[in-house]
């Protein structure tokens, strides 16, 4: 392995890990507050689509970024209302978000641009060198910030209390619903950022289903990282690295089966969640409501 190869692999890993970090931090916040969020994939797609569409109409990628993040946050409001206020089934609501996140952009691209799921090409976010866009360092900076907020501030500890035992948390006068709303909305914004990285950071357009399961890989990273920010970061780097090696293997013709590399995050997560080599413990209050237990 020469230096060029190592460096380009490192850069590729940073690039592929970035959308995963954003979405995984979103999933981490939501799950830590006790709300299952399997809708990350759909939220990422909404963010990716609206960022590209916003950038197209506004002519500025940063405006597009804001619109994408805003739209994904709005989509997360649906999840929050369904899961927290209506106390609906959280997995069902997430499934619906995923279907809508896939189909609404497809419907709208047909209507707005008369294409089957693709937006026009737009200007990308600026880069900081080596093709890495400005959001890459933001993603890595967010990890210690989320860690600090969760583990070293009062609201963060309340969030985790709501996720561990909503009833006890409610009984000491903390409004569980309010903290859960905040976390689910934040997960929408973060997943939206992750989606926007793909459409206006790495590429310069939205194309149908462009996340290709990254929302689920992000969810897997949260589990593999045992619901901790640093563990999640490590997992996203591992999964992003596998993806980067796979891309390199395709371009340089390395004798590695790409199918095995693509499947790696899923196999590792499967093993992790079954606790075969280590315990993986979800928040105890995940999916539970303060009033019903």
């Amino acid at each position: 392995m020469d230096d060029f190869f190592t460096i380009s692999l490192l850069v590729a890993t940073l690039r592929t890990a970035t959308p995963l970090i954003f979405a995984a931090l979103g999933g981490l916040l939501s799950e830590r507050s006790g709300v299952v969020n399997i809708g990350l994939e759909g939220l990422m797609l909404v963010g990716a689509f609206m960022a590209a569409t916003g950038a197209h109409y506004a002519g500025d990628p940063f405006v597009g970024l804001a619109i994408g993040v805003g739209a994904a946050t709005l989509a997360a409001v649906i999840h929050a209302v369904w899961c927290i206020t209506l106390r609906g089934d959280q997995v069902v609501a997430g499934t619906a978000i995923n279907l809508l996140g896939l189909s609404i952009p497809a419907f709208l691209t047909q209507r707005l641009f008369d294409t089957a799921g693709r937006t026009p090409t737009i200007d990308r976010l600026p880069t900081i060198g080596r093709g890495l866009n400005v959001l890459v360092p933001v993603a890595f900076l967010l990890v210690p910030i989320v860690w600090y907020l969760l583990f070293r501030t009062k609201p963060g500890l309340r969030v985790m209390a709501a996720g561990e035992d909503p009833r006890a948390t409610e009984s000491v006068g903390i409004n569980v619903a309010r903290y859960r709303y905040a976390c689910v909305l934040a997960s929408g914004a973060l997943a939206g950022l992750g989606g926007a990285v793909l459409s206006i950071g790495d590429l310069s357009f939205y194309t149908s289903n462009m996340t290709q399961g990254r929302g689920f890989i992000a969810l897997a990273a949260v589990i593999f990282g045992n619901w901790s920010p640093l563990g999640t970061l490590a997992a996203t780097l591992l999964f992003g690295g596998a993806q980067a090696i796979q891309i390199q293997a395709q371009t340089t013709g390395l004798p590695i089966s790409t199918d095995v590399l693509i499947a790696l995050p899923y196999v590792l997560t499967l093993i992790a969640i079954t606790g075969l080599f280590r315990n993986s413990l979800p928040p105890a209050g995940l999916g539970r409501h303060p009033t019903t237990g």
Binding site: V36, I38, I78, W82, L86, R87, G88, D89, Q90, V91, V92, A93, T95, A96, I97, N98, L99, L100, L102, S103, I104, A106, F107, L108, Q110, R111, G213, F216, L219, A220, I223, S257, D259, V260, I262, A263, Y266, V267, T269, L270, I273, T274, G275, L276, P282, A284, G285, L286, G287, R288, H289, T291, T292, G293
Partner: protein, 409 residues
């Protein structure tokens, strides 16, 4: 295991009064009431989703009435339309049944897509092998059996993992979906070993002896729809007339109460997931052997629509058949809607998402209000049940635990 055996010995007793567990009250009136209410929730959800869909059409500048009329005429307007509706319904009914049987045991099977996909791959491979000129009477059952068996294995994995380690099936089935996609992609690339065609990204065509027959001249309607209806009838019998079905439902309604009655939770959810996977595998098999004549390495997405079908059908075989027909009609009519009314056929996918959301919302809102009303009027227990009812539908581990039940087994 020992407790389970004793449960089997006492089989007939619980079978006679399954609804005692379900409602806490006895028989027919309550059951009909619950079924009717269930149906109403689904109808309300479909209505709400169609209204929101109409709004979406109107906002996007088309005529909702025209669009829905075109959708309807595309789905039922002529012989070909009806046939296409049935063709589109077939995998959705089978997938919906797969979702339903897992749900009855309290599990949320998001893995139907992967189970279906691998079932399709296995059936496609077996169907493409010559087998020394085996007759259809041997080859077709073999191919169908392979599809169902592989689907069942892919369904058994999350079942066993949950039974043994408590791993959430929501996560494991999602992971297994993606692993299934890679297995198919890998298999399709190995034309040195398998009867596949990498250039067409598919298996070799199924031999004539391993195909499901076309059953209506001049249309694509194939015998898969008959398999789907038969599966629905068998599943109804299994769920509501046998001890196995009783165990599945009892475990789904209350793991604690079922354990107290000597029913093994781990074994029962594994059985439910095997059944679920086999049905999903059959859905893929019917597509490969009936509609396409081979397995294409392109995940069809039916596994996710099947969740909507199961939810709208309230996890009852009859409801699932009706919901499958509804969603099949939406898919079949979409093309005509796009050509006549100019509304993108992607709207159908939007409608499916809206229906899922509406089912979750309407059911939750209804339970929420009814529960509170009962609590205010008669005191706690009903409200408590409303909560635990929701919890068992989620399939989340902590909620399935009995609060103050018998000692752990």
């Amino acid at each position: 295991m020992g407790r389970d055996a004793s449960g089997k010995a006492r089989g007939p007793v619980p079978v006679r009064q399954p609804d005692a567990v379900a409602t806490g009250v006895t028989p027919v009136g309550v059951r009909l009431g619950a079924a009717a209410r269930s149906g109403l929730v689904s109808l309300a959800a479909i209505g709400v989703a169609m209204l929101v869909g109409a709004l979406v059409i109107a906002v996007s500048g088309d005529d909702p009435v025209l669009a829905y009329r075109a959708l309807l005429s595309g789905a039922f307007g002529d012989r070909r339309g009806v046939a296409e509706t049935l063709v589109a319904s077939t995998p959705l009914i089978l997938g919906g049944l797969a979702f339903a049987v897992a749900s009855r045991a309290g599990l949320f099977n998001i893995g139907i897509e992967g189970q279906l996909f691998l079932g399709s791959l296995a059936a496609g491979l077996v169907a493409a092998y010559g087998l020394g000129g085996a007759p259809a009477a041997v080859h077709l059952p073999l191919a169908i059996g392979a599809g169902m068996a592989v689907g069942a294995v892919w369904g058994a994995i999350p079942g066993v993992l949950k039974a043994r380690t408590g791993a959430s099936e929501v996560i494991t089935t999602i992971m297994l979906n993606y692993i299934a996609y890679r297995i198919s992609a890998f298999a399709i690339g190995r034309d040195d070993l398998l009867p596949v065609n990498p250039d067409r990204v598919a298996t070799d065509p199924a031999l004539p002896g391993a195909r499901l027959a076309r059953i209506l001249d001049g249309t694509r309607l194939h015998a898969g729809i008959l398999l789907a209806i038969a599966a629905a009838v068998i599943l109804w019998y299994l769920l509501f007339q046998t001890t196995t079905g009783y165990r599945i439902r009892a475990v789904g309604l209350s793991r604690g109460a079922a354990a107290y009655a000597g029913i093994s939770w781990g074994r029962t959810i594994t059985v439910a997931m095997v059944l679920s996977g086999a049905l999903a595998g059959l859905a893929g098999t019917s597509e490969a052997l009936g509609l396409q004549g081979r397995h294409y390495d392109q995940p069809p997405g039916y596994g996710f629509t099947a969740i909507a079908v199961g939810l709208v059908g309230r996890n009852h075989p009859l409801g699932v058949v009706l919901a499958g027909l509804l969603f099949g009609a939406l898919n079949a009519g979409a093309t005509e809607m796009q050509s006549t009314a100019g509304t993108s056929k992607e709207l159908v996918q939007v409608l499916q998402g809206l229906v899922i959301l509406a089912v979750a919302g309407v059911a939750a809102a209804e339970r929420f209000r009814v529960g509170q009303w009962f609590a205010a009027r008669f005191g706690g227990p009903r409200a408590g049940r409303a909560g635990s009812d929701r919890a068992s539908a989620v399939g989340m581990e902590p909620d399935l635990e009995p609060r103050a039940g018998p000692p752990a087994l």
